[in-house]
């Protein structure tokens, strides 16, 4: 069977599975729609959280990013896992005890303020939409390359699936579909990783293969790769090129951003008890770590294979995968010295006479994971499996994000905002309609992606880090924190972060170099500074403004102890 036939079969089977699960788990009440009736077991919730969290960026892009950046890619590995420690220790148990439906719910009630609620709603919607656009883009790439259908049709099919189970099933449907999607995506990620590890190092566990001996050369794989890098004029793989302060700030922004992302936080409202929320974060991180510890191994295997396959080889003899990706525009070759061979070299490459060698090959880092099995010559079914896994990662995250948007509109804006007398049935209809509209907008963004999806993702993390995270932490850990402090803190954190990113990414991209950055912090890492400013402003302002009312102090006292969590409910404010 051809790659395309295998892809059709495996993607088709996985889609049928998701639809089957969705039909079996339809939501009948707002509580089921928003938080799956708070009846999800911690293990299932952990698995769903892992699928929710691991997006097209984790599945498709991350190993490629690491393959091209070496040590500098560590920011994603540490940043996107370390946030779970913060979630487990500082957020999840307390938010579960509070027992609301959404993140703006907590912010609005804790700070007894509609303004705070609205600021939170706007942030939640913005963060979620920027993210969804990236997922739909991932769906488009997979369909375009493997099924060879136009990107538009790919996105429409993906939208149709998400529409079906998110609108019908709400959180309940999404949760159980995500459990299925996790199984598909982790299987699809690990099978090629194990194959590659066996081929290159003879060790079946990729995490150990990474530190193992390369069978071909008999030296340690990492030493061999460092050697290849030196030969070809790239920076050493195991040490980075970014400044220490920038690595520090980017890692922190990603960690704190992870802990502040509404679609992740909301998952811990779905378990029955506080102790379930705590352990559930542990399960989630364990399921995530299965992929995240394999990713750096996949990156090294991919990098080594790529260099071996293309470096100094005749262009005319490149295998089929090379020409197929070339036709998507994600690989491009220009024979600058006219020797018919591919020179894939770094900035420091020199020939025998000491003259510099020009690089002739440009590879989009996003294709590494998808192209990896083909580069290594793995069986066709593995390639089809990777396509199905990429789609599972993109769709599961998209669904989780769409739910946040839908809840923000039907619950935070209508029920708790402008139309308080809305009936349960009315709210459920509103939730479904807004989920439907959100799917269509997301699909539009997927077909006509703004050229700056990658930039915008930095935005999403930066804003989550600079807004939600400090507001929630202070709301739990400081009884003195009041409305004025929280709102001014959020506004100053967001303004600083957004201003910095907009300036360097959109207004004056030419100045986007370390020379002009504050303290050498890149726009990707500025969310950390935004968070610190938010904390400082909030703490200062709250000292000079009236303390929160007594019932809020009691509420904080209640949040701090597990007993009495019950099911998710409306706090009577």
């Amino acid at each position: 069977m051809t790659v395309q036939a295998w892809t059709f079969v495996l993607v088709g089977l996985s889609f049928a599975l998701y639809i089957g699960v969705a039909i079996a788990t339809r939501a009948n009440s707002t509580k089921e729609f928003y938080v799956a009736g708070s009846g999800v077991s911690p293990l299932a919730n952990g698995m769903a959280t892992a699928a929710d969290w691991m997006s097209a960026a984790s599945f498709i892009s991350m190993a490629g990013l690491i393959a091209f950046r070496g040590y500098d890619g560590s920011v994603y590995l540490m940043g996107w896992t370390g946030g779970y420690v913060l979630l487990a220790l500082l957020l999840a148990p307390y938010l579960r005890k509070f027992g609301a439906y959404t993140v703006p719910d907590f912010v609005g009630d804790r700070y007894y303020s509609q303004t705070a609620r609205i600021v939170a709603v706007v942030c939640a919607i913005f963060v979620s939409f920027t993210y969804v656009a990236g997922q739909m883009r991932g769906v488009g790439i997979v369909f375009g390359r493997f099924l060879e259908v136009p990107v538009e049709i790919g996105v429409v099919i993906g939208m149709g699936i998400v529409f079906f189970y998110a609108v019908l099933g709400g959180m309940k449907g999404i949760t159980y579909t995500q459990v299925a999607q996790y199984c598909v995506l982790i299987f699809a990620y690990l099978v090629p990783a194990i194959f590659l590890s066996l081929m290159i190092t003879g060790n079946a566990i990729p995490q150990f293969g990474l530190g193992g001996v390369d069978l071909e050369s008999g030296t340690f794989l990492l030493d061999r790769l460092n050697g290849l890098h030196e030969e070809l004029g790239f920076a050493a793989y195991t040490s980075g090129t970014k400044s220490t302060i920038d690595v520090f700030f980017i890692t922190a922004a990603l960690m704190v951003g992870t802990a502040g992302l509404p679609h992740v936080i909301i998952r811990f409202y779905t378990v029955p008890k506080v102790r379930d929320a705590r352990i559930s974060v542990g399960w989630a991180l364990m399921f995530i770590a299965l992929l995240y510890t394999a990713a750096p191994a996949v990156a090294v295997f991919a990098r080594t294979n790529l260099l071996n396959t293309v470096s100094e080889q005749p262009y005319a003899e490149m295998p089929e995968w090379f020409t197929k990706w070339e036709s998507t525009g994600l690989i491009s070759f220009e024979d600058r010295n006219g020797d018919g061979l591919i020179q894939f070299v770094g900035p420091d490459a020199r020939d025998a006479t000491g003259a510099s060698i020009a690089n002739e090959l440009t590879i989009d880092q996003d294709i590494m994971v998808l192209a990896n099995p083909e580069i290594a010559g793995l069986p066709n079914w593995v390639i089809g499996l990777v396509a199905a896994g990429g789609l599972a990662a993109a769709l599961s995250t998209a669904a989780g994000l769409l739910l946040v948007v839908s809840a923000a509109i039907s619950h935070d804006l209508l029920k708790r905002g402008i139309k308080k007398d809305i009936s349960e049935r009315g709210e459920l209809i509103a939730a479904r309609v807004s989920a439907g509209v959100a799917v269509v907008i997301a699909g539009y963004l997927g077909i006509n992606p703004p050229g700056f999806v990658a930039e915008v993702v930095a935005f999403a993390f930066g804003l989550a880090a600079a807004s939600f995270f400090p507001a929630i932490i202070l709301g739990i850990f400081s009884k003195r924190m009041n409305r004025e402090g929280a709102i001014l803190g959020m506004i100053s954190g967001i303004t600083l972060t957004a201003g910095y990113i907009v300036y360097f990414k959109f207004i004056n991209p030419a100045a986007n170099t370390a020379e002009y950055w504050w303290f050498g912090i890149s726009p990707e890492g500025i969310g950390t500074l935004g968070m610190l400013v938010n904390l400082a402003v909030a703490l200062t302002v709250s000292r000079f403004t009236p303390p929160p009312p007594e019932e809020i102090v009691h509420m904080v006292n209640r949040i701090r102890v597990p007993r009495g969590a019950g099911a998710a409910h409306e706090i009577s404010a």
Partner: protein
Amino acid sequence: MTDTPETPATVGGPDGKNPRAGDYWRKNLQYLGILLAVWFAVSYGAGILFVEQLNRIRIPGTGFPLGFWFAQQGSIYAFMVLIFVYVFLMNRLDQEFDVDEGGE
């Protein structure tokens, strides 16, 4: 379903003046301090600030420079362990102070 009514024995009850409430919270903060210190040490410490010094050391029998290993593998394993240790400590603390959700 609504909140289970809080009994007077509940730590940090509605009056917030239960003396044991303070102890429970202080102990919690103490755990957080220790666990977050480890969290910082394995990632920002070993993986970022001291990565170059640690890279001079190799994990015996493997090709891993130690700093690189912490940045791309070790920190993630440590994060998992930290969460499970936290869960264990807090479940024990909840029982000790009788604020667990046992019968609910």
